[in-house]
């Protein structure tokens, strides 16, 4: 870029990137997810993970949880741009380090092997609320709920116990205590 002949200025100094969890309450209507995701891709924002589902069928409200990284300025823009979308009701933003907020992701692991391997795999998962959802003679499907990096670690560690398939959700978030986000 520095040596290109351009009609535009070269980029200035870039700030530090932080990881944020953005929660968006939207009308559950056709195309609403595309609007939110399109805003991110169109303006060059990151999406690390995404979780979305209807949470209030009566009011027709969905809750979208997006994990993103950006400079403070970019995070501020993300929130303000989201708030401009017509079907968006409110936008919350939490830092990943925020102790007042719970973040969870869920993962399903399929482990194939003899009973020893399967049990070892299950044991390794135990501290993450492990549940066996399906078992056969030579396989387990194990469900865990944990933080992103914990699931990353487990994905690595379970390889030696016959992990053959991983499926995981995006993060969902909720504040601790009695308060809710208005």
């Amino acid at each position: 870029m520095a040596n290109s002949k351009s009609a535009y200025s070269t980029p200035g100094k870039q700030g530090k990137f932080d990881t944020h969890i953005i929660v968006v309450w939207v009308d559950n209507e056709t195309g609403v997810l595309a609007r939110v995701v399109g805003l991110f891709s169109g303006r060059g924002y990151n999406i690390e993970s995404l979780a979305v589902a209807e949470i209030d069928p009566k009011l027709n409200i969905s809750r979208i949880t997006i994990v993103t990284t950006g400079t403070p300025q970019v995070i501020e823009q993300i929130k303000l741009q989201l708030k401009k979308l017509v079907p968006v009701h409110k936008v919350a933003d939490f830092k990943r380090e925020d102790k007042k907020v719970i973040f969870k992701e869920m993962a399903l692991f399929k482990v194939v092997g003899n009973s020893l391997k399967k049990e070892k795999a299950f044991k390794a998962c135990k501290k993450y609320n492990a549940v066996i959802l399906d078992k056969t003679k030579n396989s387990y499907v194990i469900q865990i709920t944990a933080l992103r990096r914990e699931i990353d670690t487990m994905t690595k560690n379970l390889k030696k116990f016959g992990l053959v398939s991983v499926s995981r959700t995006g993060a969902v978030a909720m504040t601790r205590g009695a308060e809710i986000f208005k």
Binding site: S6, S9, Q81, V86
Partner: protein
């Protein structure tokens, strides 16, 4: 039981209730039921364009010159995709448009049917919001909602996609009542505390400047009047962006001219050296700021804008004030009168040194050019056009390029809504159809499109629309046979490698005018220019004016962004001293 109406009828009933007088459109298979209904609604007049992009720009011209939303009606598939450029243009320049598009019948959606396109998908990033109406019961309220979204907060385009079967289906229509409450997306979030803070900054400042933009125009004519009052009360200098021209009188002494890449020397230097910058309804566009890191390094910055996402987007500001420009200025003036009734007097001394400095910059006369008796200089042409039309209430549109900048520099406006130009998107071909829309809104006013020969050829077909509806628009072409701005950059940055910027075969514009059934005039020498312009003004039909100008002329002054904002490149008289070298090349 109340009467049942078809979808097409409901659409027109909505348009009637919204007070829509004109729609710009082009028929096609998926909107035939709507066109069939047109005959039953006399209050809505349809203007048949020649291309849907033209419909969009005409609607923009109508909206920007009248303050009312522009409405366009296009068919599915290519009709809608042709309108995309105009929608994007309106989105960038905050113009309220309502685009009604036809869609294939609901049961065919997703089957790649004839003239099917994912219109709501394609237009999602270039509209404020869009809707696909699959249920006739939603149609009425969707149309009204569309008008509300387009016109409230920061205005912009919206699109409603109506499948053909929905246009035939029948349901009730409840008359629309305009609600006071607006959808929560309007943001008058400022408080008296913000205003007090602003006035504190204003009274402390010794080098202040107002930097105002299209937001003042969008806020309505009252905002421009209030701005004048505020500027007079404070005695501060003011500069406006390209889109803000007209919100403050161009010939007033406190006005420093347009700022930015081709703005005046005094405006840009004042922006760089000021200690207080009050941004009213502008958005720190990259054509204004140049290199962000070196933009006005020592100033406190205030940003007044209706759109919270405009604040801190490009430039960090010290005092954001979110609200409608007219409301914010009203509060500010009121508070000044109460708290500091003698503001102007007490302040005069304090900023007198600043004004001296500004006068010094002003004496450089940066819009100056070397005139000629042999060839028509494009700047001279714009100056003469201005002198010969300024006594009339003239509306100016432009295309995009050098002629646009010369028009902005040399044509002076003293009222808002008189200047329609594509700033954000920079759409060549904007000016001619926009002039059509302006003339529709103001049938008895003089409407001139200051054009370049390359731009105008992109939407030339709309002159046929002007002829059909006897819209006496004047297309004033500064013809230099080049894409002038491209050629200028190639000259300055690419060692005069004029790659594909010369149009080797151009039409004879006078004959072309005759072929279209309007009037062609050509001027080739400076001494005949005045007479020809007068002839153009006095012609009560559309005119294509082919003004053959100097082919080599460049547009100055100019900020080559590699240099700081306060080191502009001036015109030929000053050029030897100030060559673009090395680093500057990358940044223009």
């Amino acid at each position: 039981m109340s009467k049942l109406y078809s979808g097409a009828e409901i659409l027109f009933k909505c348009l009637e209730d919204q007070g829509v007088e004109f729609i710009f459109g082009y028929p096609g298979g998926a909107v035939l039921p709507i066109y069939d209904e047109l005959k039953n609604f006399n209050s809505v007049k349809h203007i048949l364009v020649r291309h849907e992009q033209g419909a969009g720009h005409a609607a923009e011209g109508y909206a920007r010159s009248s303050g009312k939303p522009g409405v366009l009606l296009v068919t599915s598939g290519p009709g809608a995709t042709n309108a995309v450029t105009a929608l994007t243009d309106a989105y960038m320049d905050s113009v309220p448009l309502v685009c009604i598009s036809g869609q294939v019948p609901t049961h065919l959606i997703g089957t790649d049917a004839f003239q099917e396109a994912d219109t709501t998908g394609i237009t999602r990033p270039c509209t404020k919001h869009n809707w696909l109406v699959k249920d006739i019961k939603d149609l009425g309220k969707t149309i009204h909602k569309a008008f509300e979204v387009a016109t409230t907060g920061r205005p912009g385009p919206v699109l409603v996609d109506i499948p053909k079967d929905v246009q035939f289906q029948k349901t009730n229509y409840t008359k629309f009542k305009k609600q006071k409450k607006i959808n929560g997306k309007i943001h008058n979030q400022f408080s008296q505390k913000d205003i007090n803070e602003l006035i504190k900054l204003m009274s402390k400042s010794s080098k202040p400047i107002f930097y105002t933009g299209g937001g003042v125009v969008n806020s309505g004519p009252r905002a421009s009047e209030l701005l004048r009052e505020l500027v007079n009360t404070t005695g501060f200098p003011i500069t406006t962006t390209l889109q803000g021209l007209g919100s403050y009188p161009g010939e007033d002494g406190q006005f420093l001219g347009m700022l930015g890449m081709h703005g005046s020397y005094e405006a840009n230097n004042a922006m760089h050296d000021c200690d207080l910058m009050i941004n009213i309804g502008a958005r720190f566009d990259d054509r204004i700021t140049g290199k962000i890191d070196e933009f006005s390094p020592n100033s406190k910055k205030v940003h007044i804008d209706i759109d919270p996402s405009s604040i801190n987007k490009n430039v960090k500001v010290d005092l954001p004030i979110v609200g409608d420009v007219a409301e914010v200025i009203t509060s500010t003036i009121k508070t000044i009168k109460k708290v500091k009734p003698n503001f102007a007097k007490s302040n005069k001394q304090k900023i007198s040194k600043w004004w001296e400095k500004i006068q010094k910059w002003r004496s450089v006369n940066s819009f100056d050019f070397i005139n000629s008796t042999e060839t028509i200089k494009p700047q001279y042409a714009v100056q003469r056009l201005y002198e010969l039309t300024k006594h009339k209430d003239t509306y100016i549109t432009t295309e995009v390029g050098q002629h646009q900048m010369w028009a902005a520099q040399h044509y002076k406006f003293d009222k808002p809504n008189r200047w329609m130009t594509s700033g954000g998107l920079g759409t060549m071909g904007y000016g001619l159809p926009a002039a059509v829309g302006v003339q529709v809104a103001h049938p008895n006013k003089l409407v001139v499109d200051i054009a370049g020969e390359a731009s105008v050829l992109m939407t030339m077909q709309e002159i046929s629309t002007a002829v059909q509806y006897s819209l006496p628009i004047k297309i004033f072409i500064l013809n230099n046979e080049y894409m002038g701005m491209v050629r200028q950059w190639q000259e300055l940055l690419h060692d005069k490698n004029y790659s594909e910027s010369y149009t080797a075969a151009l039409p004879d514009f006078v004959k072309l005018a005759e072929a279209y059934g309007c009037v062609g005039i050509r001027a080739t020498k400076p001494d005949e220019l005045d007479d020809k312009i007068i002839e153009m003004i006095n012609t009560d039909r559309p005119v294509i004016f082919d003004c053959l100008v100097d082919k080599q002329e460049n547009c100055f002054p100019m900020i080559p962004s590699g240099k700081p904002h306060n080191q502009m490149l001036l015109g030929p008289k000053d050029q030897k001293k100030n060559k673009i070298t090395g680093k500057g090349k990358t940044l223009v």
